[in-house]
Amino acid sequence: MSSEEVLERRAVISGIGQSDVGRRLNRDPLELTIDACLEAIDDAGLTRADIDGLATYPGAMDAPPGFSGAGVVDVQDALRLELDWYTGGIELPSQLGSVVDACLAVATGMARHVLCFRTVWEATAQGDKGRAAVTMGGGGGSFRAGGFMEWVLPFSAPSAAIWIAMLAHRHFHEYGTTREQMAWIALNARKNAVLNTKAVYREPLSLDDYFAARMISTPLCLYDCDAPADGSTAVIVSRADAAPDLRVPPVAVEAVGTALRGRPSWDQFDDLTTMACRDASAQLWERSALTPADVDVAEMYDGFSFITMAWLEAMGFCGKGESGPFVDGGERIALDGSLPLNTQGGQLSGGRLHGYGFLHEACLQLRGEGGERQVPGDPEVAVAAAGGGPLAGCLLLTRSR
């Protein structure tokens, strides 16, 4: 660990909020956003007059449909916030990069209470036309591919499902990982979702069901892909020395990770069995005296089930290449296992709240408010991690300091 002060430790998560979550809520996404934001502000014991910072991912965007429900301007104006600092953008170390930015903003004194939010309405946006309706480049016609899409769209590979499938296949090839093992990410998520009234898929799921599902892009089947949803999640990042103002004991930020030391590319990255999660995780542990063995609960991105396996290895919860045996059978990652994982049902069964859902759940678990799905034994340390491929951001959180 560096002898320099780890500045993000000046930040705490003082409040959390979440709107209704569901498939095709057919509600105005800004309305969902306001619901989540007001709940988080109230949870922290603050009023909107206390909010002097605003952070979001990916910022206002019209396309792909449903990907962004509100931007900085929308929320600032709706709540008439007077801001000293704000940010909203997509070129960040994952969705949680916006929360990391908020931690740095309060640490440097640019703001005291930063409202962070992420809103999706992909389920409503795609309507009855299926996921292809919200895939980039799906418009066809005279559209021409630029940026990274230049190198994949002409080969009819518009979806991260295909890109992640290729990483998973390479992992299978190098380490002998199997679909039977990977299935446990999905089955574990569903087991937890059964206990979460907000989760979008709550019927029990068996290994037979998993294998009966249609293939999307080998080796990923339908149940390896997260479920488009509508919903907004918000957290308040406050300066630790603002804690006396707060209603509930805040969750402390122990360390963050944002590194991307390999090439920022889905196909040119040096090791295609991992990716940016390797670098962000390494940096996180460089910034803390805690170790993977100290972690009581892990909330790690599952836009596709393989991504969680890459995070398990990157975080050092198991050895490189060993995530298959680690999750096999599901005991270790169950609520009562040695590393409870994606306790709200992840995005696979909980709904694709896009990164922020993991942070919300990590805070809930550390506060002991998980209800039926509460991890036993008063968890003290949690990891929240988001992003797949060349995108990764993560936070190490503790119940108290």
């Binding site: 292809a132 895939t135 480049g137 799906g138 066809g140 005279s142 559209f143 021409r144 591919a145 630029g146 230049e150 190198w151 994949v152 769209l153 002409p154 080969f155 009819s156 590979a157 518009p158 979806s159 499902a161 295909i162 499938a165 290729m166 990483l167 296949h169 390479r170 090839h173 249609r214 293939m215 999307i216 892009s217 080998t218 080796p219 990923l220 889905w266 196909d267 040119q268 295609l272």
Partner: protein, 144 residues
């Protein structure tokens, strides 16, 4: 030869034109630094190794090894007949350069990681530049 499937074409710029059009003579080329011989992909204004700006498209043998692949069963947009193979290949003769591509000319089930493939360009007329058709570098198994 059958009609190629619908493809979203790349946006052509002065920097990438050689890559997308040089299949006209059946040759795959990758940008290479004049000074230090580093292969640079995707094309960039400076060499990432020595920062030199003098570079040229260099012909490579056109063979590659399948680094990884996926058989796509999902219809995302108009495109090749399902299922089709999307692969990342290691380009022979250009160390560290990979291409995302399609493996064609064989059944999806016959594709394996590590297999030797060779470039098979798929021609598309470019409505924006009729003089310079675009040649997508697909790959097919090397014949027996």
């Amino acid at each position: 030869m059958s009609e190629p499937p619908f493809r979203i074409l790349p946006r052509i710029t002065d920097r990438n034109r050689f890559f997308w059009t040089n299949g006209a003579d059946g040759t795959l080329r990758v940008l290479r630094c004049d000074a230090c011989d580093t292969f640079v992909h995707p094309p960039a204004p400076v060499c990432p190794s020595c920062l030199g700006s003098a570079m040229h498209p260099e012909a490579v043998p056109g063979t590659a090894r399948v680094h990884t692949f996926s058989v796509n069963h999902q219809s995302w947009m108009p495109g090749p007949e399902l299922p089709y193979v999307v692969a990342i290949v290691d380009v022979d003769g250009a160390p560290d350069v990979r291409l995302t591509t399609n493996i064609v000319g064989c059944a999806p089930d016959d594709v394996e990681i590590g297999m030797l493939v060779q470039v098979a360009f798929e021609r598309h007329d470019d409505p924006a530049d009729p003089e310079h058709p675009i040649f997508l570098p697909l790959f097919e198994p090397v014949g027996e």
